[in-house]
């Protein structure tokens, strides 16, 4: 019985982590799926959001700036705003770059951000990180605290999903899709593609900042390692590609699925005898890499490929006429 309870709590944590990653994958989907922008600097926006919320909501501390003890909601909103502002700056600079270049530029910017977080110790406590971050519902008894936090995350995911689905079907979303499919035509039609791209980039980055804030509150601790560009960024990309890029449901599915695989495979490898225990960590990483390759070859559009609304509608029309 205790075992089932424990597994239940683990499932809750899988959904919580998965949900936070889903928020970020949705943000990435706005940038990639809607407008085809290859943002490899996810970790940077994540970090800004995380640190902003953490520093504003902790109690006063000599070790870092902030410590204003503000309510968590304010922290999260501030996180989104901060990420949005930085994203706006980045976008203005990089907007005309084509995809591979944009990727590496954003990667470089994220690295610089990480170095700032690490070196400006007076502000962020450097590598020692910001601790004692408050967590919503933490005074509630187990398991209600975990369930409530998970519920909060899932509600946010759901809300963002609805928002993005609406946006996708609205004129704003349609023009985005058009600019992705055929940029010159869209420009010729008089649409300000650059401005749209910037808007999409900023919106996506705000989601990533929110994800960062949620993570900081979940872990109650944040340090520059969390902004490690390659793992944090890479994992979210895998989630989106595997789940189905340009598809909001796919983003959510990919996030939860990939995180579950990433986390749960360790339960399998830790069953092996001890002499192999350390080396199995490497086997696990190997298998995850291999799994990625298999998915890429067999499901190139991801598990839930993008639905083309218009194409479907056209199909239906054709069918109804015959």
């Amino acid at each position: 019985m205790e075992q089932m309870y424990g597994i239940g709590l683990y499932a809750v944590s899988l959904l919580t982590f998965g949900g936070i990653y889903a928020v970020m994958a949705l943000g990435l989907n706005v940038q990639w799926g809607f407008t085809g922008m290859f943002n490899a600097g996810i970790a940077g926006f994540f970090a800004i959001g995380a640190y902003t919320s953490a520093m504003l909501t902790t109690a006063f501390s000599e070790r870092h700036l902030g410590g204003l003890d503000l309510p968590i909601v304010i922290g999260m909103i501030a996180a989104m705003i901060a990420a949005g502002i930085i994203a706006w700056g980045v976008a203005k600079i990089c907007i005309r770059l084509r995809s591979d270049y944009l990727a590496i530029a954003t990667l470089g910017i994220a690295e610089i951000l990480r170095l700032i977080l690490k070196n400006e110790t007076w502000a962020t406590n450097g590598p020692r990180g910001v601790s004692l971050v408050p967590k919503p519902f933490e005074t509630w008894p187990e398991p209600w605290n975990q369930l409530a936090f998970m519920a909060l995350v899932l509600v946010i995911v759901f809300g963002l999903y609805i928002l993005l689905e609406r946006a996708r079907k609205a004129p704003w979303g349609r023009v985005m899709a058009a600019s992705r499919e055929n940029e010159p035509a869209t420009r010729a039609a008089g649409k300000n593609v650059d401005r749209l791209r910037i808007e999409a980039f900023v919106l996506g980055a705000m989601f990533m900042g929110l994800g960062g804030a949620l993570m900081a509150h979940y872990l109650k601790f944040i340090d520059p390692n969390a902004a490690d560009p390659l793992i944090a960024t890479f994992l979210i990309w895998v989630m989106l590609i595997v789940g189905g890029s340009a598809n909001n449901k796919g983003a959510i599915l990919g996030a939860i699925l990939i995180w579950t695989i990433w986390s749960a495979t360790e339960l399998l490898t830790s069953r092996l005898p001890d002499e192999f225990a350390i080396r199995t960590a490497y086997v696990r990483v190997f298998l995850i890499g291999l799994l990625l390759q298999i998915v890429l070859q067999r499901f190139p559009n991801g598990i839930l490929p993008e639905k083309r609304e218009k194409a479907l509608a056209a199909e239906r029309e054709r069918h109804s006429q015959t």
């Binding site: 895998v238 590609i241 490497y282 990625l292 390759q293």
Partner: protein, 296 residues
């Protein structure tokens, strides 16, 4: 002035040579195969460990073993291409980038599993430098690295300008459709690209190991500067990669010189950021890079 030469400029040139060699592979993959290969760092690391094993077996100098290491690394990379990249040839670049990420994880875990994660070295002990003119300090291993790097770069130049396959590579980088139309066998060119890239990666890795030591994350840790070098020089242009690598390496080292006053101009904690800052500036000012590579 002397400190500047000894502790900033010369290490910068050595580092720049290593970056240059690594970046050539990246830029060729970018230009001919059209994707950013994130597994390039692990290819370097793998080449280093192969060399290390050969040293254990034979006791020879690493440079003597380098050709063998290059061959082995090329073989492995060709195998990887066959199984993991070839099926995705027609896919969009992002898919290939993802695949290379996955490859990065796989190759790294194989290296860590096989050789363990402890620090190793090619040759223990330290090497006192020669002192020229009573002031200039030049270490023998640095001379070796720079000369060997120059030789390899000259070899690449020869390959690209004088050989048939080299010219085919340049044609494909310029325009793949046209290249196919004129009868160039794309698969052969692709194989050649991998071989050149992997061999140079193995060499770059070995030079880095000679200058520092051997450990499993060494290639990954310079991956971002390698990308910066390729972009700085102009993606798709091997000469650009050479120039970009040298520039990045030198600027990284001289940026911490106390140009103004007593303290370093750039705090050493930010030294790593110098490469990226340069790259971002280049991307904004002149995306085709210093030597006008492609702009995708």
């Amino acid at each position: 002035m002397i400190e500047f030469l000894n502790f900033h400029l010369i290490p910068g040139i050595v580092l720049g040579s290593i970056y240059a060699l690594g970046a050539i592979g990246i830029t060729l993959t970018f230009g001919i195969l059209r994707f950013a290969n994130f597994a390039h760092g692990e290819t370097m690391t793998f080449g280093v460990y192969v060399t290390l094993t050969l040293i254990w077996l034979t006791g020879w100098h690493p440079l003597a073993l380098l050709p063998i290491a290059m061959a082995v690394t090329s073989g492995v990379v060709l195998g990887i291409d066959r199984v993991f990249y070839k099926p995705l040839r027609a896919s969009p670049a992002i898919i290939l980038v993802m695949a290379s990420f996955g490859m990065m994880l796989m190759l790294r875990s194989v290296t860590q599993f096989s050789w363990g994660v402890q620090l190793q070295t090619f040759q223990p002990g330290i090497q006192r430098p020669y002192i020229l003119f009573d002031a200039l300090r030049i270490s023998p291993k640095h001379i070796i690295i720079v000369i060997a790097a120059l030789i390899l770069m000259a070899a690449v130049h020869y390959l690209l300008t004088r050989t048939k396959i080299g010219k085919a590579m340049r044609a494909m980088a310029d325009s793949p459709e046209l290249a196919r139309l004129t009868g160039i066998e794309t698969e052969r060119v692709i194989k050649a690209t991998w071989i050149v890239g992997a061999s140079l990666a193995a060499a770059a890795g070995c030079f880095l190991a000679i200058d520092t030591h051997v450990e499993t994350m060494m290639g990954f840790k310079i991956l971002l500067p390698l990308f910066a070098s390729a972009i700085l020089g102009g993606v798709g242009s091997p000469y650009g990669a050479m120039v970009g690598g040298l520039v990045i390496g030198i600027v990284e080292e001289i940026s911490t010189y106390p140009w103004i006053g007593d303290a370093p101009l750039v705090s050493p904690g930010y030294k790593a950021g110098v490469a990226f800052a340069l790259m971002v500036i280049m991307l904004i000012w002149r995306p085709s890079g210093l030597l006008r590579g492609r702009v995708f």
